[in-house]
Symmetry: C2
Subunit: 333 residues, 2 copies
Amino acid sequence: MATIRDVAKLAGVSVSTVSRVLNKNGYVHTETENKVADAIQRLDYEPNAVARGLANQKTMTLALILPDITNPYFPLLSKAVENVARAYGYSVILCNADDHLGEPKSYIELLRQAYIGGIIFATHALEPQDIDYLNKHQIPFVVLDRAPTRQYSVVRSRNYEGAKLAVRHLLDSGCRQIAHIYGPPEIFTASERRQGYMDSVQAYDWYRPELMVPGDFQLEGGMEAAKQLMERHPDIDGIFAGNDLMAVGALKALLRMGIKVPEQVAICGFDGIFLTEVIEPELTTIAQPIYEMGALAVKILLGKIAGSDDLDQVHELEVSLVVRQSTKRGKLE
Amino acid sequence: MATIRDVAKLAGVSVSTVSRVLNKNGYVHTETENKVADAIQRLDYEPNAVARGLANQKTMTLALILPDITNPYFPLLSKAVENVARAYGYSVILCNADDHLGEPKSYIELLRQAYIGGIIFATHALEPQDIDYLNKHQIPFVVLDRAPTRQYSVVRSRNYEGAKLAVRHLLDSGCRQIAHIYGPPEIFTASERRQGYMDSVQAYDWYRPELMVPGDFQLEGGMEAAKQLMERHPDIDGIFAGNDLMAVGALKALLRMGIKVPEQVAICGFDGIFLTEVIEPELTTIAQPIYEMGALAVKILLGKIAGSDDLDQVHELEVSLVVRQSTKRGKLE
DNA sequence: ATCAGATGTGGTACCGGTACCATATTTAGC
DNA sequence: GCTAAATATGGTACCGGTACCACATCTGAT
């Protein structure tokens, strides 16, 4: 494999000059530049990424840390991250955080000694001490789906407003008793959505706290919760699930119980994952711009790496109601 | 960040000695080793991965190249790869090949100049010249789902046998006219499955070539194909789809047409992705050991990196029939 | 004509490890 | 007691880039 010294020798110049040509910094005579370009071409030279990383104390690699890539929310997100990163010359290292929780050496230290350029956190397993560590060592990072704060840059979407949108849509579809399956309270987005639900329904006389039941953001939790809800409150005619996976679980449970969707019970999810279009009936959902969120996260991160410090701390994206079969009932009863 | 020289200074030894302690090679007196270990501890020293990579001309990083992570087959595979790789101290770079097909500089060159340790190809966009390149530059690699050959190590599963298993199961479930939706002919696994179907049904008097229709291994292709099949051959009572995604598509199309599954038509897929358990009715499928395939691929790759050259070239794993609702009909008519 | 600043190029220390070679000391065999 | 091998340690070139510094030449303004 050709090195910069080989190129220098062939072009009859010093390595400094070749380096200048490569990085387009410093003065280089056009004629010299051509000679160097020619040598590069002839040797099929490519600068070595590792050597560059060592010299610059920084590599063209980003890390994406997420709970579990098999969760259907994350493939699209990671695709966005990878695509945009690559467009800017960066590679992406994938880290499934859930599988390595109790590990002695944290991911972050591992990444630092690999001179990683920056990190995107799509996991909730990010502790305050990790944040301190990142800031102390000046490692650029962006966080997804977190509470707004001045401690870091966040990319998120309007969960609260989305939840209100969902409830409004269910009401508009003729539902008169809407339950909510909420996600784990330690996940901030789940709480926001729950709050959106509460604030939307509290004024109605049919509302009772028992209409809110916990799920785990997984399929099973949704099934379980829906079953429980329908057994205890048979007159529920609408379910708003805190995420799509639970909504699909709820749908599954209802179908098994012989309850017709949307005729007897309408269902609305949250996230806008591909799965909602696969099942039958297709699921109405509050769609987050997942790809855009991933793409934006990378762009902000690259901005930070480049040194811009004045990037907005919070980037909140709009969600949108996607109406599908699961809420298409004969309006108004 | 502490370097090896800092450790050497603190321990009162040379960098060579520290290096020997770190890599456990060469002679080091126990007492000296303790001093060094102590210094490492005190400085919270971690050897720098990039510097190591440069010195060794090899990094602790693997690349996983796949068509598209949003295809539901790949998240579990990539999780397996990442898990096992990390257990051995390796990181994994994710590459979505589909999105970068026509690019001037191939992925592989990019990875080589990053001193990547090895590559796992789960994509079909691997050309013969790429393979020459890999071999020429001695880059260890493993390929998934390819035809057996002596050119490289392959991890695959018994597609042909699986297809026969699927047809047998449909027959056992009482189907008397079984159609097949096959995947793209350029994908070898799709052809194997098709062949398995053909060899299983050819002897029956009901068999006609028109019972085989092409799909694209995607949801849409499955829907389209199923629709066409049922319109042209209303007496079909069983469909074997070349993969789960098309099977789910077929199911969706049938449900929309008001055809009952499994009562009127039974459906069997192939792959064993999570999606088959999510939908209702749940889908019978020929399950590949996806996680195990990923894990095995990494292990073989690591073996190659370590220098074992005698690893079996072809590793073929067993598939298994997973019977679910979509084929549970009142047996024998 | 003079000189400051712009332009152009080379030399080389450094990034943080590895591994080869040299050297010193200890152990063991005869 | 002598020599070969084993044990123990240090010095340093090298991996392949970057970037600072030194130095030379060329412009253009006064």
